[in-house]
Subunit: 135 residues, 2 copies
DNA sequence: TTCTCCCATGATAATGATTCCTAGTTAATT
DNA sequence: AATTAACTAGGAATCATTATCATGGGAGAA
């Protein structure tokens, strides 16, 4: 229906991307909004959400949809797996080769057309393990 | 602190479990509430949520937390993987051996204490592939 | 059986993340 | 500079989920 509207590089959009690329964490929209507000104090949370959505649709960033209630965003668009700390809620990257064969295996076994998979680990991050030891 | 309060097997709780076990789909709380209401028309959605939570904490059912906005529930408590149809939103089981080694591998490589992982596939279910062909 | 305790229920309000709406603003193009 | 479609801020609306609270009812003791 609608031809894709042409993107404009607004200040807000620019700063959102920059701030997201600065960190290796995987912030939520709210966290990112706080970060951006240090430079653009009047930016609204809705704008952050809208731009994160647009940027991820354009393939410039990644919308993570990891377990948990809040969506997270990643400036690294390479396909990779994640690890969530149950204690602090943080999400880290996993250095691990992608599983390349399982999609086809599952496709054969299930009758589904398999387009991809999502693998994520849960556990306790080094920092939280350290804290626990202190208790 | 609190000794776990003793569970009372109420009619509502009973019926929720029965209805969940009847299906091989992985209903949301709302869907399950509709199913249960055919037998207990006055049950409230809050009761369904509360009991699903209690039952999953007790290990009698599984809370799925698959990608997407709504939580889903599974009467099958065996550890297994899932497959989500992007078209109809349905969630199916995958017949596939569990990946047993990767947790330890990731633990060694990452410094995290890895407690488990969650793997889910995305694609199109046989039924939606069939519909698509008709277009 | 009756009393008492206490967990459970139903109804509804509250919360929190996300999306939608609208009037005013701005980047890109001519 | 003028034009215009895309964008923004702010707030309202939505949707899933959780909390609150007065009432209900089952299990054990008397």
């Amino acid at each position: 229906m609608d031809p894709t509207p042409k993107l404009r590089m607004t200040t807000q959009r620019q700063v959102i991307m920059e701030e997201l690329h600065k960190v290796k964490s995987h912030p939520t929209a709210g966290e990112l909004c706080q970060m951006v507000r240090r430079r653009l104090p009047r930016i609204s949370l809705g704008t952050v959400y809208r731009n994160l959505d647009i940027l991820s649709r354009s393939g410039l960033i990644q919308k993570l949809d990891v377990a948990g209630q809040e969506m997270r965003f990643d400036g690294d668009i390479r396909d990779h797996y994640h690890l969530r700390c149950l204690e602090c809620g943080g999400v880290s990257d996993v250095e691990m080769a992608l599983l390349t064969d399982i999609d086809q295996e599952v496709e054969k076994a299930s009758g589904f057309e398999v387009l991809g998979h999502r693998l994520e680990f849960v556990g306790r991050c080094p920092s939280c393990r350290r804290d626990k030891r202190a208790n």
